[in-house]
C-alpha cells in the first residue's frame, strides 16, 4: 500500500510538471489537429460512406511515432540533466516505484489527449450508427499502443541527458516496431527476398501493426493484449537496468 502511495506521489508530481509547461498544451493541440487532418483528409472519413472510425485509428501508429517520444523524452533525461535524479533516488522509494509513477503520469497525459478526441466518436454516432464496441476496442488498442511507445521512450530517455537524442532513438525503435509488420515490408521480405512464410510471420508478430489490427476490428485478443503489456514491462524493466547502470558508474 505504501508502494502505491509512493507511485501516486511521483505520478502526481510528474503530471503537474506536464501541465506546468506550455509544451503540454501544444502537444495536445497538435495531436488533435493532426488526428483531424489524417482522419478527414487522408483517411477519407466521409468518402468511406460508412459510420466507423477506421480512418481515425488507422493513423495512430504513425501519429504516435512522433507524438509519444515527444511526451516521453523528458522523463529521465531531464532528471539527469538537472541532477534531481540524485534527490529522487535517495528518497525512501524504490527505483521501480519512480519508474512506474513517471510512466503512469505520462501515460495518463496521453490518455487525456486521446480522450479529447471524443467529439469524433460523437460525430459518427450522430451521422450514422457505428459499432460502438469496435470503437471502444480501438480506443483500448490505441491506448495500449501509446503505452508501448511510451515505455520505449522512457527507456531511451534513461540512456541520455539529452532530450533530442532520446527522442530520435525512441522514434527509430518505434519505427522498427511498426515496420516489421507493415504490409509493404512483409511483402518485400516474402516475395522479393524470398524468406519463408514462417520467418516473415515471426518477424511480423513483433510488430505493433499486427497487434493493433485486431483491436481496430473490435477483436480483443488476449495475445494482442499480452504483446503490448510485454513491451511495456520489458522497456520499463530495461529503464531500471539502465538507471542502475548509471549509478554504478
Amino acid at each position: 500500500m505504501n508502494a502505491w502511495a509512493n507511485i501516486r506521489t511521483i505520478a502526481k508530481r510528474e503530471l503537474s510538471a506536464y501541465f506546468a509547461s506550455p509544451v503540454a498544451y501544444v502537444v495536445i493541440v497538435i495531436f488533435l489537429l493532426l488526428t483531424g487532418f489524417f482522419t478527414f483528409m487522408l483517411g477519407g472519413f466521409f468518402e468511406r460512406g460508412e459510420a466507423s472510425l477506421v480512418s481515425f485509428f488507422l493513423w495512430h501508429p504513425w501519429l504516435y511515432l512522433f507524438l509519444v517520444p515527444a511526451v516521453g523524452m523528458r522523463l529521465w533525461s531531464e532528471e539527469r540533466r538537472q541532477g534531481t535524479m540524485e534527490l529522487l533516488l535517495t528518497m525512501p522509494i524504490t527505483p521501480w516505484q519512480a519508474i512506474v509513477g513517471k510512466f503512469l503520469a505520462s501515460w495518463l497525459f496521453l490518455a487525456i489527449a486521446l480522450a479529447l478526441t471524443f467529439p469524433i466518436a460523437c460525430t459518427v454516432n450522430y451521422l450514422g450508427s457505428p459499432d460502438n464496441g469496435v470503437i471502444f476496442g480501438s480506443y483500448v488498442g490505441s491506448l495500449l499502443l501509446a503505452g508501448s511507445y511510451l515505455a520505449v521512450s522512457s527507456m531511451t530517455s534513461a540512456m541520455t541527458r539529452n532530450q533530442v537524442i532520446s527522442f530520435i532513438i525512441s522514434v527509430v525503435i518505434c519505427f522498427l516496431l511498426i515496420l516489421v509488420g507493415y504490409p509493404p515490408v512483409t511483402t518485400f521480405l516474402y516475395h522479393t527476398l524470398g524468406f519463408g512464410q514462417w520467418f516473415v510471420e515471426t518477424v511480423a508478430s513483433f510488430s505493433v501493426m499486427t497487434h493493433f489490427e485486431g483491436f481496430q476490428k473490435g477483436i480483443l485478443d488476449s495475445r494482442d493484449l499480452i504483446f503490448f503489456l510485454s513491451i511495456m514491462v520489458f522497456a520499463l524493466f530495461t529503464t531500471g537496468v539502465i538507471i542502475r547502470g548509471h549509478r554504478a558508474g
Partner: protein, 323 residues
C-alpha cells in the same frame, strides 16, 4: 547513527574513494574536508544510497544501505552538491512533494512545510517557480527539502557553497543548532566553517582519510602550533635572531618583517609540531630574554587549519617547491 566501513568506489580505473571508515553519532557534526576531487561527494553519495559502493558497507541507524535501503533512507535528509530542485515547480509545490514522499499527509504535511519555510526564510518566494529563484534561495529550498521530515541524519554536500556571507552565517547557525540532536555530515573546503560548526573533522585526500579529530587536535598538527609570534621595538632583526637562537627552548627563528621601528619574528619551539610542549614555556623564556626591548606583541600560535590542510593534502612535489 552512521557507520562507514572500508568504503570504496572505483570509476573505471580511477579509485575515487579508497577504503574509508568512520562513524558519526547523534549530537555530532562531522566536517568533511578535502581538496576538489578528493572523493567527498562520492562518499556522500554512497552513504545516501545514490550510488552503490564498489566495496565496504554503510549503515545508517543500524540499517545496511545495500540490504535495507528504504528504512535507512527514511532516516536521512540529503542536500546534494549544487542543490538540485525541480525547476518546473513552485517552492511550495516542491516542498509539498518532498513532504509527501516522506510519508507526510494532510495537516502534518502542511505543518512540516511551514516549519522549514520559516527556518530557511523562504516566505518571500513561496509561490515563485524554482526556475526563477536566485542561487541562494534555490540552495535554501533544497536545504529545506532535506530537513522537511526532521531527519535523524543529515548529509549536506557543500551547504554554504554559493551563498553570500549573511546566508552562510545563517546556514552555519542552523547546522550547529540541529547538530545538537542529529548526526550531521557536511562537506566544505572553507576552513573557518569547520571551526564554526564542527565537533569533529575528517580530512580526505585522493580517496583516503588523512586526518581525523576535533578542529583543535587538527590545528595542532600545524607546523605553527606552539610557535610564538613576537613584535618588538629597539633591536634589529639579525641581533634578535642571534639572541633568541641561543635559548634552549628555541629551534628556529624566522624574521617575518623588519621595519624602521619594529621587528616581527616567529620563533619555533624545539619540541614543535604535533607534540608541542606546554606552549607557555617558550613564550616565558622569550619574555625573559627580551630585557631592554619593548615588546609590542607576543602570542603563541594555535596552529592554523589551512596550514594543516595544505600540508596534508598537497602533493609532495608541490610542497617541496613552495618551501
Amino acid at each position: 547513527m552512521i557507520t562507514v566501513q572500508n568504503l570504496a568506489k572505483t570509476f573505471g580505473t580511477k579509485r575515487a574513494v579508497d577504503g574509508i571508515s568512520f562513524s558519526v553519532e547523534r549530537g555530532e557534526v562531522l566536517g568533511f574536508l578535502g581538496p576538489n576531487g578528493a572523493g567527498k561527494s562520492t562518499t556522500m553519495r554512497m552513504i545516501t544510497g545514490f550510488i552503490p559502493p564498489s566495496g565496504g558497507t554503510v549503515s545508517v541507524g543500524g540499517f545496511d544501505m545495500e540490504e535495507n535501503p528504504i528504512p535507512a533512507k527514511r532516516l536521512i535528509g540529503y542536500l546534494p552538491e549544487n542543490a538540485p530542485a525541480y525547476t518546473d515547480m513552485t517552492v511550495h509545490g516542491f516542498l509539498s512533494f518532498a513532504a509527501e514522499i516522506r510519508g507526510l499527509r494532510g495537516e502534518a504535511k502542511q505543518k512540516a512545510v511551514n516549519r522549514v519555510v520559516e527556518m530557511c526564510f523562504l516566505e518571500a518566494v513561496l509561490h515563485q517557480s524554482v526556475d526563477t529563484l536566485s542561487k541562494g534561495y534555490r540552495h535554501r529550498t533544497c536545504f529545506a527539502q532535506s530537513i522537511i521530515h526532521d531527519p535523524d541524519v543529515l548529509i549536506l554536500d557543500e551547504p554554504t557553497d554559493g551563498l553570500d556571507p549573511n546566508q552562510k552565517h545563517e546556514v552555519r547557525t542552523l547546522i550547529r543548532k540541529m547538530g545538537e540532536k542529529k548526526a550531521i555530515i557536511f562537506s566544505t573546503h572553507i576552513l573557518e566553517e569547520v571551526d564554526a560548526v564542527c565537533s569533529r573533522a575528517i580530512i580526505i585526500d585522493r580517496g583516503k582519510i588523512v586526518a581525523n579529530g576535533t578542529p583543535q587536535q587538527l590545528r595542532q598538527k600545524s607546523d605553527w602550533a606552539g610557535a610564538v609570534t613576537l613584535r618588538v621595538n629597539g633591536i634589529n632583526g639579525s641581533a634578535l635572531n642571534q639572541k633568541l637562537s641561543q635559548l634552549s627552548t628555541v629551534k628556529k627563528v624566522v624574521v617575518l618583517k623588519e621595519e624602521a621601528t619594529s621587528v616581527t619574528a616567529r620563533i619555533f619551539p624545539k619540541t614543535g609540531g604535533p607534540n608541542a610542549a606546554p606552549s607557555g614555556a617558550l613564550a616565558q623564556s622569550i619574555a625573559d630574554a627580551a630585557q631592554g626591548w619593548r615588546i609590542e606583541e607576543l602570542h603563541t600560535e594555535e596552529g592554523r587549519l589551512d596550514d594543516v590542510f595544505r600540508n596534508i593534502t598537497m602533493p609532495d612535489t608541490v610542497k617541496e617547491e613552495t618551501k
